[in-house]
Each structure stands twice: as structure tokens, then as C-alpha cells.
Amino acid sequence: MAKLILSMDNLVLKEIPLNKERTTLGRKASNDIQIDNLAISGEHAVIVTILNDSFLEDLNSTNGTCVNGQQIKKHFLQNNDVIELGKYRLKYVNEAPAQASQADFEKTMVLRPDMMRKAAEHAGGKSAEAVEAGHAPMMPAVDLAPPIGAAVPKPAPVPEAAPVIPLGAIQVLNGSNAGKTLELVKSLTTLGKPGVQVAVIARRPHGYFLTHVEGAKFPSVNGEAIDTQAHELKDHDVIELAGVKMEFFFKL
């Protein structure tokens, strides 16, 4: 579950779990998070939490709300965001669930329609208000009852590490295009003439692979025809396709 860590002058004051659909921040005692300081408006901001995502919205406060140094009106909170309210800081922590349940992250779950409906009804009044006040209408709230087949939803996708292999390229060895070089930047590069003979070079994290796509004749590598399987290309392999010879090489 996501939480906020309230601090002032680098001194942690408390931790607040975001276990409610709406968590309000402000100077008044009616707020979920009360910060008794004159720089804070009575009703300063609200955090709307929908399952594992939280959205911060400034409620037209006098001194405004900043996230990571930027003034915001509405903000989709990301792990380690720092919300600044006057001298106070609230760090948003939403760590990925434990490794043990990794396989469960991708599990699709159902939000039952009746849950959505109920939630929409009791959020109805609220969203109408929001529209009037010139805000974007809020999403109907969702009951936090565990969905069917409950599993931990996955964290945001981790960017894959950049391929470790160097960039590949081909140079045409004969014909009218002899000497021309083509860098294999795209994930797929097609070679040949559509309808006659076509092959593709796929760029994958572990290498470049040549595969026959269409045509009665298969391309050859270093004089030998490849079969229907993808063929991994090595530095300085010579590909021949529809009478054109090309050398594959890695750029340093």
C-alpha cells in the first residue's frame, strides 16, 4: 500500500498510509492529514487513491501545492515524489510489491460491474460539483473490496536494459548499390523484392537474426542457403539475396 512520510527540516514526523479513497490535507481539524500551520489553507489538497494509483489535487489553496519543485493543480503521484506544503514535505512511497508474488503481477482481474455501478452512484454528486467548479470530472470511485481472483496488481513496467550487443549494419557488395551501408536500427529490416524474394533481419537483445519471409528461393549466408528457421548473423557474414550480396557487420 502507498504511504506518505511527513517531515519538516528533514525530521520525520509521521507516516500516513493511503488506505482511503480520499485523503484530505489542510489546516482544519476535519482533514485526514492536519498540518497546523498558517501557510497551509484550511482545505489545501486531496489525494484520491484508486487501488494502487494515487492522484494529488490542489483545492485552490492560497499558497499552492508543489511536487518535486513544480507547482501543480493535479498530479499523478509516482514513487518518491515529494509534495511540498510550506515548510512541510510529504514523500510519496509506493513500492513494488514483494518479489515472491512476481508471477501474480500480470494476472488480469475483474472489477465487477455492480461494484463500478455502486461506486459511480455514490460518487455521482461529487463529480457534478467538480465539473461546476471547472475541474476535470473525477473518475467514479471504486470500492476497495478485493476483486475476484484477487492478486497483487503488477508494478509499472521496468524499462528493459539496453541491448548489450553493438549496432549492426549491412553493406551492399555488388550491383548498382555497391558500397551503400544501412544501419540496422529498427527492430525489423526487410530486404529484397516483395512478391519475388524477401528476407528480414530482426534486431533482438541477444543479436541479429536473418529469416526468410517469402519467395521460392531462400537467402544464403556465406554461400549456404538458410532454412525456415531464424539464422543468427555473425560479424562479416555475407548474405546473398535475389542476386545481391551484402556484408553484415557490427559497428564499433
Binding site: 492522484f55 509516482q78 494476472k107 475483474v110 481472483g149
Partner: protein
């Protein structure tokens, strides 16, 4: 009635893979090029229940629709103005939903199982598309990729309401929450639409294991580069999803339209004439 055979006009290829993280494959695919039917389901539920739900969806629908279109051709227009394809899809999806729901309610080990569904029935230069949940249908036409179906998911609703932007959606932790599914209730809300199909079109039906791992422009590049070899194209899409992490089961059905396929006896019908005036 002559048996429908669209296999001369329509080519199909499928590929389904458990991915790099999961050990079981809860997706299920069915391609029947003769009938012009493609069905893809992404199951959910504990133990093997997800597999049961998705394979029930594809098997029952494949069988029921083959039977339905043996009774009446899909292009036949009924009294209410709807094509039989449309009516049959709506009815058979509801029946299949009830069957899955029944199995889930009467077997403790299947309790709570469900499945998404995306299916296309090709007929008379058109297709009827039914979908429930977040499995998708894309179309590649003239090199441009278009997402034909709109997910029934919390994320899509948040996008529609303007709560989050498409850029932010990529970082949402609320992916994989569908707002509709087959088998979870006695009734199901099926989204159904008909679309015009043109020769040269390539259609992709996929589970979220593909579109969560591979960007749309990469999907477009793959479809346009490899449409001459559909099985290779399907395999390449799955390989790309696996190369990017393969965090979920990945399933794809590819459909390539090689020729027009007007309904029998309608070869030079009013539709074609109208279309030729406008083209």
C-alpha cells in the same frame, strides 16, 4: 445451403506462448479460415481455472457458430434489420457466458474463473467483432495501425474521463483490471460492431501480453514488414513480447484479407455498386 469456405480469400495464423514469467498459458485461440472465424480469450482465475474458462470460450463459440452459420448464412438480414452474423454472435456469446458461469458456480475449483474475449466473424466483405475485456483487435490498412476495439478496463475509463494521460497510463499500476469479463456473472455485456473489410487489410487479435510489452509502432512495423509470411509474423510478435520481458501469456491471431469475399449471389450487388461510385 453450400458450406461456407472463405479460406481462398482469408489467411489466418496463430501463435500462443506462456511468456517468460508464467509457467501456464491461460490464453486460448481458435482460427477457422473456412468459416472466417477468429476467437481469442485470455482466462483468469486460480489454479487451472483460467485455462478452463478461456478454452471453454473458444471451443464452445467455435462449435456453436459453425452450427449457427450452417443454419443460415451470416449475411442474411433478419426482420429486425440485423445480420444473422450479428444476432448469432450476440446470442452465442451470451450462451457461452452462461455455460462458463454455470461451470464456475458448480465446481469449487473453478469458482471465480472468467475470461476476456475478442472475436471476429468475416462475411460478405465485412466483419462482425465482439469483445469483452482488454483483449484487442487491431487493423493494419495502408501501413497505418488502428485499434478497432476499446478496452473494457479501469485504465481505459480513467483515460476516457481525462483523469490520466496516455503517457501517464504507461506507468499506471492499475493495468490488468478489466471491467467486463465472460463467466463472472450470469449475464454479460458484449460490445458488438460491424466493420467494412478491404483486400490487403491485416487484422491482429491479441491478449494484453502482447500490447503491454510491445509498443504500437513496433506492432505496426512487424505487421507491415512480415504480412507476406503470416506464421512468421505471428511468431515475431510473440518473440518481441518475450524479448521485452514476456511478463504475461502472449497470444496473437493474424488475419490477412487476400481477396474480396462477397456473400454468394451478391457478387455484383448494390453494395459493390454503391462502393464503386464512391471509390
Amino acid at each position: 445451403m453450400a458450406k461456407i469456405d472463405l479460406s481462398g480469400a482469408i489467411e489466418m495464423a496463430t501463435c500462443s506462448d506462456p511468456g517468460k514469467v508464467r509457467t501456464n498459458n491461460e490464453d486460448s485461440v481458435l482460427a477457422n479460415p473456412q468459416l472466417g472465424l477468429a476467437v481469442l480469450a485470455d482466462g483468469m482465475g486460480g489454479y487451472n481455472a483460467g485455462e478452463v474458462a478461456s478454452s471453454m470460450a473458444t471451443a464452445v463459440l467455435g462449435c456453436e457458430l459453425e452450427h449457427a452459420f450452417g443454419l443460415q448464412p451470416p449475411h442474411q438480414v433478419r426482420e429486425d434489420g440485423k445480420t444473422w452474423a450479428r444476432a448469432a454472435l450476440m446470442d452465442r456469446v451470451a450462451k457461452t457466458n452462461a455455460a462458463i458461469h454455470h461451470a464456475a458456480s458448480n465446481n469449487a475449483q473453478y469458482a471465480g474463473m472468467g475470461t476476456t474475449l475478442v472475436m471476429a466473424q468475416f462475411f460478405d466483405n465485412r466483419m462482425a467483432v465482439a469483445h469483452i475485456g482488454d483483449s484487442r483487435l487491431y487493423r493494419l490498412r495502408d501501413g497505418a495501425l488502428f485499434q478497432v476495439t476499446r478496452d473494457h478496463s479501469l485504465l481505459q475509463e480513467q483515460l476516457d474521463s481525462g483523469l490520466i494521460t496516455p503517457e501517464q497510463a504507461r506507468f499506471s499500476q492499475n493495468k490488468n483490471l478489466v471491467t467486463r469479463a465472460m463467466g463472472v456473472d450470469a449475464d454479460v455485456d458484449t460490445e458488438l460492431a460491424e466493420h467494412v473489410v478491404l483486400p490487403g487489410d491485416v487484422y491482429l487479435l491479441c491478449s494484453d501480453g502482447l500490447n503491454d510489452m510491445v509498443e504500437d509502432d513496433e506492432i505496426a512495423l512487424t505487421l507491415s514488414s512480415l504480412s507476406a509470411n503470416l506464421p512468421l509474423c505471428a511468431q515475431q510478435l510473440v518473440d518481441m513480447a518475450n524479448d521485452n520481458g514476456g511478463r504475461d501469456n502472449i497470444s496473437v491471431i493474424l488475419v490477412k484479407i487476400k481477396q474480396p469475399f462477397p456473400a454468394p449471389g451478391m457478387t455484383s450487388g448494390w453494395k459493390e455498386r454503391v462502393q464503386s461510385w464512391f471509390s
